[in-house]
């Protein structure tokens, strides 16, 4: 991986651009040569990451794409990195559609043959929110996209947020501490928690006993655009890690409507499930494997420089 960085066959141009009330920052990497080429717009996950993504993932990928003759554009969401604005929460049910639309518009102005979009988690849901609005979309890469339309994408994330974020703000307040340590509060917890767990377990057992499974929880923000990609014949690379919190949702959803979409898609959707965690990219092997998969996918699908737009 380190060898790639020594040959920079691209011209990297910083750019500020408007997106609604904010000004975003991005870096456009133009591959060498004058021939026609597509451009991949890369979105990070939610959280105050920068356009480099974890461990320079987007920087390295941009340089590898340049070697294939593919331009790329990475940018900071509003409220992150060098962009203006403020964002305190990244909600899966409120993707940053305006940011992506502005980025795509900028890339459009660079005389590219078509668009490739790549997003991680929240970024993947933001990609999905726009796929039906991009006429020259040639491909989509979705890494660990949450299935549900919950604000935080999955129950585990919700629990983490409730535990860490809200709790962090409240727990040091003396009044809150006193209330939680009070006898009535302790007794209420003792009464409530086992009953809530029992109810949850009973609901699960009832569904299994009936032999039917309800899929109302599968987010339309995931399912509808995924179907849309299939209907338009747009190649999609979908990657999960077996230890991603949202992967269990994906596996369950495959027994229902997501499986229907995958079945209809056939080879159009290329699914890779990697051992261990991918979401968060806190392992080097996951970073390298995902980069290799993206490069192989664009190459095998004929999406590299010179390919005609769909």
């Amino acid at each position: 991986m380190s060898e790639v960085l020594r040959s920079v066959r691209s011209e990297e141009t910083p750019v500020y651009f408007r997106a609604g009330p904010d000004t975003l920052f991005g870096i456009y990497s133009r591959a060498a040569g004058d021939g026609p080429r597509p451009a991949m717009t890369m979105l990070t996950g939610g959280g105050h990451l920068t356009l480099t993504h974890r461990n320079r993932l987007h920087v390295l990928l941009a340089r590898r794409l340049a070697e294939l003759g593919i331009d790329s554009f990475r940018f900071d969401f509003h409220g992150t990195g060098e962009s203006t604005g403020l964002v305190e929460r990244f909600r899966v049910d409120r993707p940053f559609t305006e940011d992506l639309a502005a980025a795509v518009s900028l890339v459009d102005g660079r005389a590219v043959t078509g668009h490739l979009l790549m997003g991680t988690c929240f970024g993947a849901r933001t990609v999905l929110s726009q796929t039906d609005r991009i006429p020259r979309l040639q491909g989509a890469v979705l890494i660990s996209p949450p299935i549900r339309d919950l604000a935080w994408g999955d129950p585990a994330a919700l629990r983490r947020v409730l535990r860490w974020d809200v709790w962090r703000r409240l727990r040091h307040r003396p009044a809150v501490r006193r209330a939680l340590d009070s006898r009535p509060a302790r007794e209420a917890r003792r009464w409530l928690v086992p009953r809530a767990r029992a109810a949850r377990d009973a609901l699960g057992r009832r569904a299994r006993t009936r032999g039917e499974e309800s899929f109302g929880w599968v987010g339309s923000g995931f399912l509808r655009p995924l179907r849309g990609l299939v209907d338009r014949g747009i190649p999609t690379l979908l990657i999960y890690g077996t230890e991603d919190a949202m992967y269990s949702d994906f596996e369950r959803a495959r027994r229902g409507p997501v499986g229907d979409v995958l079945g209809a898609a056939g080879p159009l959707i290329e699914l890779h499930v990697l051992p261990g965690p991918v979401h968060g990219f806190d392992r080097l092997d996951a970073q390298r494997t995902v980069m290799d998969l993206v490069i192989e996918w664009v190459s095998s699908r004929g999406l590299a420089a010179g390919a005609a737009p769909r």
């Binding site: 105050h48 920068t50 990244f90 974020d165």
Partner: protein, 295 residues
């Protein structure tokens, strides 16, 4: 140098971002200036690396904008081998980071007409800031949660790696000593998706912040991120030693917990969350940079 320019009327700032230096050794850098007046001085921000780079990024951007509002220019940059800059992460050492900081000092001095300079060093960047500041007489030095003993950086990284495994209900894995041996043998060790290279570790191993700052007195702002009520003992001792040398040292607690190496990438950037840190740092730098070297 090609830069992208943002003039933000709301914050009264002008921001220029681009790549500086020769191909293959370019640094990505962002200047922030007051939009409507000449800067009365400048501040070089020396960031940390690995996940600390990401965690503090936005806070550093906000400080730069706050400093512009107080009449100071700022230069933030990515070291070679980090962020958007050229270079390989495996080649990062304290020496290369300090060299990059020196280039940043030159560039900022050019743009501010040689006005007074100060430094902000965050976490590992504190060692870089101290090295660069030692070459600028009396330059104020603001430090956020500084790594003041270089070898602690590696040890903290290894501890975080083991704790991460614990949180995932895995076995702890190799001890810190075993990881150090692996680092020496293989040349790098993975820590939570980052490659910690032997060169970096060796360049930090015997380094001490107070030795890097030199002997000439300068004002210091030492900020600890803590929910406690008192400065932790090693920071208190460090501040004492500087004071004994006649340095004006301001110690401050920013009530915040930040597990630097962990993968919760969301940072509390609300006004209540980060406002005090940004304003306190910007106020201190604005006051000390403009007032000139400590007599």
């Amino acid at each position: 140098m090609e830069t992208a320019v943002l003039v933000d009327e709301a914050s009264g700032t002008r921001q220029e971002s681009g790549f500086l230096g020769p191909p293959g050794a370019r640094l990505f850098a962002t200047w922030t200036f007051p939009a409507r007046r000449a800067a009365s001085g400048g501040v070089v921000v020396c960031s940390s690396i690995h996940p600390e780079f990401t965690k503090n990024y936005r806070r550093e951007v906000l400080v730069a904008r706050a400093l512009a509002g107080r009449g100071l220019a700022t230069l933030r940059f990515h070291y070679r081998g980090a962020g958007n800059s050229d270079g390989d992460t495996a080649d990062l050492t304290l020496e290369t980071m300090a060299d990059d900081a020196r280039r940043a000092v030159e560039w900022l001095a050019e743009r501010t007409g040689g006005g007074p300079l100060g430094f902000l060093g965050t976490r590992l960047g504190a060692l870089v800031a101290a090295t660069a500041a030692a070459e600028v007489e009396g330059a104020p030095l603001a430090l956020w949660e500084p790594v003041h003993q270089g070898d602690r950086y590696t040890r903290e990284a290894f501890r975080a790696r083991r704790m991460h495994r614990l949180r995932r209900r895995e076995e702890l894995g190799p001890s810190a000593e075993a990881l150090l041996e692996e680092l020496r043998t293989l040349g790098s060790v993975e820590v939570l998706g980052y490659e910690l290279a032997l060169g970096l570790h060796e360049s930090l191993a015997t380094v001490r912040l107070e030795q890097l700052t030199g002997d000439a007195p300068r004002p210091v702002l030492l900020v600890e991120f803590s929910l406690g009520k008192e400065l932790r003992p090693d920071y208190a001792a460090l501040a004492s030693r500087w004071r004994e040398r006649g340095w004006p040292v301001t110690a401050s607690l920013f009530p915040h917990e930040d597990p630097w190496w962990f993968t919760d990438d969301t940072v509390d950037l609300s006004a209540a969350g980060v406002g005090p840190l940004v304003s306190r740092t910007a106020d201190w730098l604005a006051r000390t940079v403009v007032s000139g070297p400590t007599p």
